[in-house]
Amino acid sequence: MALFEEIAAEPSEPVPVRRVTISVNGERRTADVEPRLLLAHLLRQGLRLTGTHIGCDTTNCGACTVLFDGKPVKSCTMLAVQADGHEITTVEGLGGASELHPVQEAFKDEHGLQCGFCTPGMMLAAKALLDEVPDPTEDEVRWALSGNVCRCTGYQNIVKSVLSAAQKLQGQSAADGS
């Protein structure tokens, strides 16, 4: 795989490699990875899921947020080998262009993004919140998203989007229930 040559050019000793099997967006994926490969890099370069962004080197920005067994984690601060046997959800797993997830729809409708760089991380952190707290207060939304940085929006519309997504999802589950 191109990536592994790229970061391990002409090794003088045998490179330690481990086989990992990860469920990514519900699909079983197997890869041979060097232990030092970060999960974010495996997703982006190894699996070509470039919706997971990398915005910093210091674990501060949250652009790389994915769900690890349903909980948001910063994929730049986890080794790919650590995901072996676990479930990862990336923004590609939320929904595609033809069928948006209610969180994605809400970000679109409420102008929850400008450049879009922070958006995948924001939406996954939002989804994790709504899975746990279907009807959050504005404070709870702000709290849950406080590990994700946005340089564009000033956050107002992001918060609005998440509150609107909560309503959409609740409407959906009410409709499903009846």
Binding site: R18, F68, Q82, G147
Partner: protein, 291 residues
Amino acid sequence: MYPSRFRYEAPHSIEEAVGLLQAGDGEAKVLAGGQSLVPLIKLRFASPELLVDINDLPGLAYHRADPDGTIRVGALCRHADLEGSALLADRQPTMAAAAPMVADPIVRNRGTLVGSLCHADPQGDWAAVVTALGGHVVAQGPGGRRTIPIGKFVNGPFQNALAYDEIAVEAVIPAPGGTPAGGYLKLERRVGDFATAGAAVAVETSGDLVTRAGIALTGVGGSTIDAAEAAQVLVGRPLGAEVIAEAADLAARAAQPKSDHRGSAKYKRHLVHTFVERILTRVGDTTERAA
């Protein structure tokens, strides 16, 4: 950035993990939540030869209370577990107050209290909390387990007392003799920033008298500061305005802040004073009402 090359093992028992550390001969590192270690290896401030990932060790994700009230926090208990803990909300106000102030919510899903103690960052919140509570760390090595009081465990900036082949398996908060009260206050410039200054206050009361007190400070010195003298003036007295002011003065004097981009030394000392006074006043008001 990419870390430099290392070997990786994910053992399934503490004994196996200790064996790997032993074979690593000082070049191996434990990987817990990874929220301090992974950034360090990415920036190549650290380049261990072997990472011993302890996340697959069974039975270390707990935090619980013994029948006598001793609180135990296992090496894989995450900050987020403590933030949502009914046990702490009910029984340990200083820890309950600190948990939501550590890092940001996403980092809290991975980072651990024990890892934070091991990392021994002078700006780490848990070391101050555990110091104020007079806690200790249980370490396991090839020769079995030993108990290390927190004041000896954190023995310098980013330094702990573990031997290279020891794993910290749990942090322990001794059972309270009286009613536990206290809190944690911290000023941060934004969510996820380390403390400009922080203060952990833990007291135990019986009637309206303080029977035990601990005060420790975050981010105002080369290491976590145990403001023992400040705490000592509280013992045996009711929490009145005068004794509170005395403790706050002594705590501010115990601080050794340096001026930096987060604030001037004077400002940080002022913060310590304000935090200690504020927490104790709140506790004083509550005990007065209860007594």
